[in-house]
């Protein structure tokens, strides 16, 4: 016979491990769905507005969290990953702003993630400290909702 009948070759690459790879990828996506470096250590329910715009995240940003269960006498502020008292918060702001020139301070993005039920006195104190240290570029993070009426 001129042609050798080709035996049915078993595939050289074993495909049995392919599902394992896929499962690994799957679990990766299931766990890594929130792409945030520092997560809130306090409960924050954001207020809703209709006119918020998308935030472009930059490298050296600071996220300030004011949680729902804030103690009025000794409020705890979370800045990035540090949950601190007001005094320590001011020290942290000082350390952030000290090495910077005024125009550089104006460029540091500060994101305020404040729970909707927090009272204004604490928020006002935080804003006053930010102003004192020249960190004036802030952003009130909110939940965007579509408003019924137009204009």
């Amino acid at each position: 016979m001129p042609f050798k009948r080709k035996k049915k070759d078993s595939p050289e690459v074993s495909t049995a491990s392919l599902p394992d790879i896929i499962f690994m990828l799957l679990f990766f996506f299931m766990t890594v769905t929130v792409l945030r470096t520092a997560s809130a250590q306090v409960t924050v329910e954001l207020p809703e507005t209709a006119s918020a715009i998308k935030v472009n995240h930059e490298a050296s940003e600071y996220n300030i969290y004011l949680g729902a269960d804030l103690d009025r006498e000794n409020p705890k502020v979370q800045i990035n990953e540090y949950l601190v008292s007001m005094k320590q918060f001011e020290e942290i702001l000082e350390s952030i702003s000290k090495p910077l020139m005024d125009f550089e301070k104006m460029k540091v993005p500060i994101y305020l993630r404040v729970d909707r039920n927090v009272k204004m006195d604490i928020v006002y104190d935080v804003k006053l400290l930010l102003r004192k240290h020249g960190l004036r570029k802030i952003n009130y993070i909110v939940k965007n909702v579509r408003r019924a009426e137009s204009n």
């Binding site: 392919l18 792409l35 209709a50 995240h57 104006m106 994101y111 909707r116 039920n117 909110v142």
Partner: protein
């Protein structure tokens, strides 16, 4: 007798299909949390006495501990804020108790220590929207385009006419009596 080692029969091909399906499902369903916010540049820190202002240039907004609104001593709802601000700043009927030109308008916001942050942000958002609307209208009339599409020089012309001057006072320490 040598026991024949029976290879376990498992068709791995369909397992891969199931895995792919699950993967695609999660890829589609997962949303990357997108932040939305209202950008603000805080005014400079200033500890001195307030400068002189004419009473007709200032729109007084008072908010009490129950998140009730008082605009120029008249109770209002948050939803009406935007229209009130536009009417005040533009002063279409040339009233004496409103600013003569829109660039002189100052919005003064006084909260109570117990006003909720949600109310504050909503009020701020409405005032901000009022100014965006007025700036957009001027952009359409003067440059036939939306405010966002304009060049910096043109935007500055509009900003000179509609600068958002918001004066926030220290929060009150007592609830407001009507």
């Amino acid at each position: 007798m040598r026991k024949k080692r029976k290879m376990p029969e498992l068709n791995a091909g369909s397992m891969a299909d199931i895995a792919f399906l699950l993967l695609i499902f999660f890829l589609v369903v997962t949303t990357i949390a997108e932040d939305k916010g209202i950008p603000v540049i805080l005014p400079e820190y200033y500890d001195g006495p307030p400068g002189p202002v004419s009473k007709n240039n200032v729109l007084k907004i008072l908010v009490n501990a129950d998140n009730d609104l008082l605009v120029e001593s008249k109770p209002t709802e948050i939803e009406l804020m935007k229209a009130l601000v536009i009417d005040f700043v533009n002063n279409p009927r040339k009233e004496k108790d409103k600013p003569i030109t829109s660039d002189k308008a100052i919005i003064s916001l006084q909260n109570d220590v117990n006003t909720s942050y949600e109310t504050y942000v909503k009020i701020y958002a409405h005032i901000h929207e009022a100014y965006l609307t007025m700036r957009n209208e001027m952009a359409q009339v003067q440059f036939q385009s939306d405010y966002d599409q304009l060049a910096v020089a043109q935007k500055n012309v509009i900003l000179k006419k509609y600068p958002m001057k918001l004066s926030e006072a220290d929060p009150f320490n007592m609830s407001m009596t009507q």
